[in-house]
Amino acid sequence: MEPSTEYAAFEEKVKKTIYIDNLSPQVTKAVLENAINQFGNVKDVQFIPTYFASRGVCAALVEMESAKQAEEIICEMIDSPLMISGMPRPVRAQKAQVEMFEDRPKKHQRTIVCRWMDPSHQNFEMARKIKDLTKKHAAEAQYIMELQHEEEEKLHKQQSETLKTNYKKYELIDGAQADGNVNRLKAEYGITLNDH
């Protein structure tokens, strides 16, 4: 195939694909496929591998039948939260980008120029500074990721607590009703209860 048409076909594919992240690591391809099949026709699911320990999320690329379907699903997932394989954390969807894909054809048939710069070159200092900046940025990104994880952990714990106490409350009420305590108390105090 001509490189340009190959790339064009690839771009078409990109338009039909949704990038979903915030997935639980337990989500399998089948689960994800079923989940999205509710909204449209899924043609393919590809998980994006995470190599670095600091990148927590699991993400996947879901290719739909048409670009329109992909857009609609993304809009729906923005409007109302979709939960896959557990609650309550919803997944996040956005349009896929070319760089998200694993194998992609070359965009242009252009040549890449790379050259070595000697330490004696006058711009060397500048180049070194750029390198240092890159490292600094990477460290910053990692730090933010850690902070984000910490907050997520906190939120998770907090929600767990809330849910547990709520549940205990309901259990208490249920329990009281079940073993007749409520009825006895009702009789004793002479209150009428509304049963639903």
Partner: protein, 550 residues
């Protein structure tokens, strides 16, 4: 008619808030007892027709923003304004369906129906709002960068209240008014009339005549129009005024108060100094180096023009082309390096024939190979590549830079990846090779495409295998519940669903959404800052390079 009389007539003081009517305009067509006005002063602020204002009704969180299109007083002395609304994106979230919008963007109401305009009591106005239109519609005078920077909000789209759609197109009329009134104000002509005048002469197209903005000496009710003119001068200031041998002089009346306002509204400190004469204010450049720099920085419109000081005039003329050259170098694309980097040190990569012995044998899946390589010490992480590279291009680069055949894989872009930094994992054939590569990258600098400096390092990866699940927060299960409704829960957990708004799960999902959104903004801001840092350094790199050439 003297101003004093008028002032007494028009001033009403209710409590501590001073109100004063401005220029009268017309009477009502159906009911001549209704008096329309063009402007008024309320609580120390001057408002005029077609200003954008904040309106607040006392029980809202945020004020609404609207444009005044009529100002009038009823026979019962009620002061009213007719306003056309601007929508905040959050107000029309339902119909936005995921369309992106700027942080300070508004949508102008259009169409017919509820929500387009209202008649409000004037007292609900609580301040002026600087709303700039950046629509590319030909009827809209283009706003300068400075105006955009100073604006409170911008808009370039309309929201049709009837059809509930967002659109870039502006209809001819909104609420019965010509759409021109909703666009940015046209720059003033020299006829000292109010905004209803139909012949503004744009300063920038006026090459040959002297631009003199004179204020009529008649003490008419032109107080408000004067101030507005001065405000519009602000607008013109940053336009490219090509007045080669002409002068720009602003003559002012010998009136202390308005002189001060001139000084305020002309934003003096920026690029020009204002000398108040008894009769005139002449704008001239301060004769020192510092202001030259500031001029270059802040004359946003055309950075290649310089301001040369004369005693009487401001001349903007083109500087020699070195500045534009810098920009060219900055925006180098890979292909352009061929013409620019013509020294003998560049290595051009050619297409290579497909003879790779390494591809004759079956390869293990990437995950395994990467982990093996990491254990053997041959794995190297290359950073600062272009995102658009493919894995094979990376392999070619390594081959040409180090003369080593490798296997590489570009790391796929995730939601958290830096847009400035493309990364790739490279598997070398031995630890020594990897060491060599890293040390070479450290001591010398490998530059790709003229501006990207490659950084090499040994990455710290996740532990291999599935027995170390990455931490995932957010899924909660209650065991007791499971015991009770095992059947239902099984089904629920294995599938996916949207949740109904009345459940706890929904509320919690909302909490997760808020968290997510907050962090999204954090990441965005950080990467934006990164981009700026990088651009700064790159600019200096380019600057040096240019120097080395000449």
């Amino acid at each position: 008619m003297s101003t004093l009389e008028e002032e007494e007539e028009n001033t009403t003081v209710s409590g501590d808030i001073v109100f004063r009517w401005g220029h009268k305009s017309r009477v009502g067509k159906k009911n001549p007892k209704i008096q329309y006005y063009e402007s008024f002063t309320y609580d120390g602020v001057d408002y005029s027709l077609y200003d954008s204002v904040y309106l607040w009704s006392g029980d809202q969180l945020l004020p609404d923003i609207a444009k005044i299109i009529d100002i009038y007083e009823t026979p019962r002395l009620k002061k009213m304004v007719k306003v056309v609304w601007y929508f905040r994106p959050t107000e029309v979230q339902k119909w936005l369906r995921g369309v992106r919008h700027l942080n300070n963007e508004l949508f102008l109401a259009s169409g017919e129906g509820n929500g387009l305009f209202n008649f409000n009591h004037l007292e609900t106005i609580c301040g002026k709002c600087n709303v700039v239109c950046k629509s590319k519609d030909e009827r809209n005078p283009k706003a300068s960068k400075e105006e955009l920077k100073m604006s409170d909000y911008v808009f370039y789209r309309t929201f049709d209240v009837e059809k509930c759609i967002l659109s870039d197109k502006f209809p001819d009329k909104i609420a019965g008014l010509d759409v021109e009134h909703f666009f940015n104000r046209k720059p003033k002509g020299n006829d000292g009339v109010t905004s209803k005048s139909k012949s503004p002469s744009k300063c920038e197209t006026d090459n040959t005549s002297t631009i003199v903005l004179g204020v009529p000496t008649s003490s008419s009710d032109n107080n408000h129009s004067k101030k507005r003119k001065l405000q519009e001068l602000d607008v013109d200031r940053t336009k490219s005024i090509e007045a080669d041998s002409q002068s720009i002089m602003l003559k002012k009346r010998p009136n202390d108060r308005s002189t001060k306002r001139t000084l305020l509204e002309l934003d003096v400190d920026r690029t020009k100094s204002v000398e108040a004469d008894s009769q005139s204010i002449i704008l001239k450049k301060r004769p020192n180096n510092y202001s030259t720099k500031r001029t270059l920085q802040e004359l946003d419109v055309d950075r290649t023009k310089s301001v040369e000081a004369d005693s009487q005039s401001i001349m903007l003329k083109k500087r020699p082309n070195d500045h534009s050259k810098k920009r060219t170098l900055q925006e180098l694309d890979v292909d352009r390096t061929k013409s620019v980097e013509a020294d003998g040190q560049s290595i051009t990569l050619k297409k290579r024939p497909k003879l790779d012995t390494s591809e004759w044998f079956k390869k293990l899946p990437w995950e395994d190979r990467i982990h093996r390589a990491r254990q053997a010490g041959c794995l190297v992480l290359l950073e600062n590549l272009y995102h658009s590279f493919t894995s094979s291009q990376v392999e070619e680069i390594v081959l040409d830079a180090f003369n080593i055949k490798v296997n590489a894989k570009m790391i796929q872009w995730s939601a958290y990846s830096s847009p400035h930094n493309g990364q790739a994992l490279v598997i070398f054939n031995s630890k020594d090779e990897a060491d060599y590569a890293i040390s070479e990258l450290k001591t010398r600098c490998l530059i790709i495409g003229g501006s990207r400096v490659v950084v090499g390092s040994r990455p710290s990866l996740k532990e291999p295998g599935n027995h170390y699940p990455s931490k995932y927060f957010g899924h909660i299960a209650i065991d007791a519940m499971k015991r009770k409704h095992t059947m239902d829960m099984k089904n629920a957990v294995s599938t996916s669903h949207h949740s109904q708004p009345n459940t706890i799960a929904f509320e919690m999902a909302m909490e997760w959404w808020t968290h997510q959104k907050k962090w999204e903004l954090c990441w965005e801001a950080m990467y934006k800052k990164h981009g700026e840092d990088i651009a700064k350094l790159k600019a200096r790199l380019m600057g040096f390079k240019k120097k080395s050439r000449c």
